[in-house]
Amino acid sequence: MTRALTLLRRRLVGSVFVLLIVVIGSFLLLEAAPGDAVDAYIVSTGGDAGMIELLRHRWGLDQSELTRLANYLWALCHLDLGRSVTFSRPIRDVIIERLPTTLILMGSATALSFGLGSALGIYAGARPGSFRDRFLSIGSLALYAVPGFWLGLVLIVVFAVDLRWLPIGGIETIASGKTGLARAADVVAHLVLPVAALGFIYLALYLRMMRAGMAEAWRQDFVLATRARGLPRRRIVLAHVARNALLPLVTMLGLQSAQMLGGSVVIESVFAVPGLGRLAQEAVAGRDAPVLLGIILVSAVLVVVINLLVDLAYAFLDPRVGASEASA
């Protein structure tokens, strides 16, 4: 337990600095992009000089960059993410509305790629070099090489347009009036295709990593020892070879979650899923810096939390991890 607490403390202190650097860096980067929120807005409206000046003033864009950054950070200290000019709503609401969708979509996709990927990886790695190993390795690599939007469109054409088994996009049937379980089933049906598109692409990462780790482990002396002891093959594969190959996968899971939490602009657009990825893209296109910063902050916090969990899982899987830190 002390090991866990030490990890937690060290991580939290570091995280605050990381978040501050992330916020200031992102703010300056977005400022460096040519054009501001008013430029982005008048693309669709046009307008005369007076109207443009009025808008800049109302949206606070006539203040200097530093003033705006200072104001933003000051509000942030009060846990206020600010107000979006393009959505004319509090940013907290805009993000909270999208967060569950992204968490469900990305969580399911990660679970699918991790679960199926490592299972198939064990299957392939149980007999490295066999036919099934070659087949799975090459097959998953082919999937990994496919662009996400294309895989998404193929799935749509086959399952939504031709077979009409599944809905084409969105997160649920529009204004269906469904509640409870019926609504949950509706959401699940809508998520099948986007989760499959995302999950299948990353499947290869886990599969190949698992398989490579196991191929490596088979050559270790302790495996020879377990065989000499006459352990059943199934037990050797699962408890000794696979468990030792699992550690890098957990690391990968932590890294991957960071990428996943940002949402996937491509898959969310193709399947019209209202997630954080699309929101971030709109925020950049609309030069709505506070919205983008809000998304970055929320996902950064989640990434920190998930990596903490990964570290804890690590400590659980490998007794050597953190032992020296706890005693120091």
């Binding site: 430029d39 005369d48 347009v161």
Partner: protein, 536 residues
Amino acid sequence: MSEFTISRRGLLAGSALLLASTALPTISHAQAPKKGGRLIVAADSEPRNLNPAIVASNGVFFISSKVVETLAEASFDGKDGLEPRLALSWEGAADGLSVTFRLRDGVKWHDGKPFTSADVAFSALQVWKPLQNLGRTVFKDLSTVETPDELTAVFKFAKPTPFQLIRNALPALSSVVPKHVYEVGKIEDNPANNAPVGTGPFKFAEYKAGQYYRLARNDSYWGKDEPYLDEIVYQVLPDRTSAAAALEAEEIQLAAFSAVPLADLDRISKVPGLKVITKGYEGLTYQLVVEINHRRKELADLKVRQAIAHAIDKDFVVKTIFLGYAATATGPVPKNDPQFYTADVPTYPFDVAKANELLDEAGYKRADDGKRFTLKLLPAPYFNETKQFGDYLRQALAAIGIDAEIVNNDSAAHIKAVYTDHAFDLAVGPPVFRGDPAISTTILVQSGIPDGVPFSNQGGYKNADLDALIVKASETLDTAARTELYKEFQKKVAADLPLINVAEWSFISVARDTVGNIANNPRWAVSNWADTYLES
């Protein structure tokens, strides 16, 4: 209904068809409209401010025009191309100082309060004139609106204002919002801007960010038996390929504003149950224009501009980039405009040899590497077609020894680079023709416009003759004389080439066969859809 379901081959006739389409009679439907049903429409973007009285743009109208109505709407066969909505009649005084509107009786706002002339006066003076993107120009001289009774509104102008201009502005600029909702607090911050209240056939019901907008039938609409639909749902589909798939899967019934990419139309027109419709956008013409920075010494030379005009093969652009769904342009007014267009202007047929000759004459000889000079070319990123034309223009210029370097930006960066920083030599832009040159066309060439105003002359072009003509036309009250002046304007622009008009295009709708009364006015996609229906 096959008369307006036009094949691609038919469209290659291009300009002739655009002209003819305005003359087609309104659609006669085979059967009586059915009541009820939910129409699901693709939406590719999500406008935040849905108040069309403040933001007069097609993106907002697409949704809001069903909720908030204008005084009049465009029409194929009505007098002066208009048909009544909230106003029954409009009459301009001979001195150009007043316009009198007689309003429709018995109209109610969605919250049950009666619609009166006070609402019109409030909208005009408090919203259109001070806040609206286009109204700020057109209604700049509006001083008061008198309301002698509940159904009469008299617009008074401080300076004579052409009645023709006010009339042409009605369909897009005259959205009436309720005074009692907007008179409390700041108009810009009113919650009704995100959930509009109007008099239209549909009430605003619901908006789920990133998912959909839902409009529900207004049971006490003034139109007899209208609207036919129970609901209109705008499903947000940011990916255009998915919009086509959604139509095929029958999840949506209509994709307007070319939500289906041009390249997919050929295939999708063969899908049973779907129809491709090119009518219904005659009043929403976009122009493909080469914007020129006259601060560049070479481009300030008329011969160089003429050479560029001769180097562009407009027919090729229409056929290859727009796949035939466009018409070649001759000048700053599109061919399909019924009031102002004239073909009697200098033209620049595709002629590479002549272009090269002109450049030689201008003194820009080819260097040893075959190049005369280098230009920075900024294609606007808003449409696929503007980007593709940028690539074409680069090749066309290469053929006459001009090396164009393409700079790609996103929308905000493009607006800043071209209209504020003037960091371009040539730009490709898609200005909109809004039924009258005074609304948003003359500013493309007029001088003296402050920096930062988008879709205006930011190329440093100055022509005293042309400026004087623009001012004169804006003060000319007689419709015939005013129209003549704008014909003169087209000639002058085509002769001096402050910019080069290449093509004109509108949008395409794809709909299921079951959707009835589509495209029955020149601004159909942004009109109120009171008579649209779904066959079961």
